[in-house]
Amino acid sequence: MSQKEIAGQTIEFDDEGYMVDHTAWNREIAAVLAQEEGIETLTDRHFDVIEFMRKEVAEKGTAPSIRRLNKLNVVPTKELYQLFPGGPAKKAARIAGLKKPEGCI
């Protein structure tokens, strides 16, 4: 656990840098987290993805998979990889203030 001062708020993060309380999220926090992930500016397309993920978490309790984002025409998989290079599911979740996606084996 760690704390960071962002936009006048004290925000708590877990050991892997994901926000503990997603309700404390706002766009200014997203901008700071995006910079940490190497994304200079968040565009409207980024926010289409982020807002949709947050909506699904609020309604269903779990973040959508890459496949679901593609299927529901939120964002094609190829574009998602361009928007969040390196690891879209994890990066987008972190910037959206959500938990780390649950992996499975």
Binding site: R67, T77, Y81, G86, C104, I105
Partner: protein
């Protein structure tokens, strides 16, 4: 008469029918099991076919051999599950009403999900080994291959038996050595995971094995498409890996029936309570094995451990008692590492694979997270156990809940 219907007679469905038939009163309950195929495949055996260790006849038996008496067996496709009407429609239009339904329809590969994968290269120099056709085709191909770049790629997670791809490259390293052409073969392991495996200690161990066996690891590679004309796989972020022989684990999905019935997620896996194995949407539907969306391995050992839990919870539900048995995510995998040795891992939702002895703490005979000859014998013996004990629902000397005894933290 009340009706219990089981959909699917693979590993999970067959174990369940064998556990339930002896205890449900046949004056009260009619048990029906439905499957479209008459042949049971010993799926762990498919891995050995490409290397000529097993042939087709070593991994198949008629499903009929494994059904208890007094159970209605229906060999038919299934058109639709209708939870609102508590009934199942078969392909021929026949309707099966149910009081309780167990869905055990499994998971299968779906190469059509990846652009270019099923094109000209499919079963020419691109093979899967998760189907009997793929495994036998690959065996034939390897017999005549003189070497080149062999790429093993996992298209996306989750997949059935997540250790099988590692076993495949370990065995390939051994087999090419035996054939005297190891120096003419480059082996590359391409995975969407950040390392050789997911859990940290196992991932490190398997990563070291890949190194030692001169197998190149390419992590974080999510396959977007296959260019079969130019023999390369291309990731979503436009990296390319060339191959001469591609051994692929295509996208795994639940049965199309699940999508038709509106019961699944994007991969046709059914949202299921990870502890009770009850469907999240319908109280009288239970789900077991690969058909669930649980964050556990899709593997026979998992189906076997879940069967104990589902057995208890289904009887509780039938008698109006709360569902007390809890599945803990327990999985147990024998991993062939080549040259007559194997590695064993034992883990659950919360505990990653750890070193130690198994199943008897301190004694073994098997060693966890360690490479031994005994672990390999365990794997080879398992086929007999599978046909003779496991499918018949007999007790095995392994607890369904994972034990910490014998493990070193």
């Amino acid at each position: 008469m009340k009706h219990l219907v089981i959909l699917g007679a693979g590993t999970a469905g067959t174990i369940m029918v064998n556990k339930l038939a002896p205890v449900l009163d046949s004056d009260e309950w009619q048990i029906t099991i439905v499957d479209q195929h008459e042949t049971h495949y010993y799926q762990p055996g498919l891995l050995f076919i490409p290397f000529g260790i097993y042939t087709k006849k070593d991994v198949i038996k008629p499903k009929r051999d494994f059904f208890p008496t007094g159970v209605e067996v229906v060999f038919s496709g299934i058109e639709l599950i209708e939870p609102g009407k508590n009934q199942v429609q078969l392909s021929d239009g026949k309707v099966l009403p149910y009081d309780y339904l167990i869905i055990a329809t499994g998971s299968r590969i779906n190469p059509g999900e990846t652009e270019g994968l099923q094109g000209d290269g499919w079963h020419r120099n691109i093979f899967d080994f998760y189907t009997i056709e793929g495994a036998c085709g690959l065996a034939h191909f390897l017999k005549y291959w003189e070497g080149g770049r062999m790429v093993l790629n996992i298209v996306e997670m989750p997949i059935k038996c997540p250790v099988a791809p590692l076993e495949f490259v370990f065995l390939a390293d051994w087999w090419f050595t035996e054939q005297g052409i190891r120096d003419k073969v480059e082996i590359e392991f391409v995975t969407p995971l950040p390392g050789a495996f997911t859990k940290p200690r196992a991932s490190k161990l398997f990563g070291d094995f890949l190194d030692k066996k001169n197998i190149k690891l390419t992590p974080d590679f999510s396959t977007g498409s296959v260019d079969a004309e130019n023999n390369k796989i291309i990731s979503w972020d436009e990296r390319e890996v060339p191959y001469d022989l591609l051994v692929t684990i295509p996208t795994n999905m639940g049965d199309e029936l699940i999508a038709r019935s509106g019961l699944g997620d994007e991969l046709n896996f059914i949202p299921t309570d990870k502890h009770t194995l009850q469907s999240k949407a319908h109280e009288n539907i239970f789900v077991i094995g690969d058909a669930t969306d649980l964050p556990s391995s899709k593997a026979g050992s998992v189906a076997h451990f879940q069967a104990d839990i589902l057995f208890e919870n289904l009887l509780s539900a039938m008698e109006g008692r709360p569902l007390r048995a809890k599945y803990d995510g327990h999985a147990n995998c024998y991993i062939e590492s080549g040259f007559g040795k194997g590695i064993l891992i034992d883990f659950n939702y919360d505990t990653e694979p750890l070193p130690g002895k198994f199943p008897l703490p301190g004694i073994g005979p098997f060693s966890l997270l360690e490479e031994t000859k005994m672990n390999h014998y365990g794997k080879m013996m398992f086929r007999w156990m599978y046909w003779n004990l496991l499918l018949k629902g007999s007790e095995l000397p392994i607890e369904s809940q994972m034990l910490m005894a014998g493990k070193r933290v």
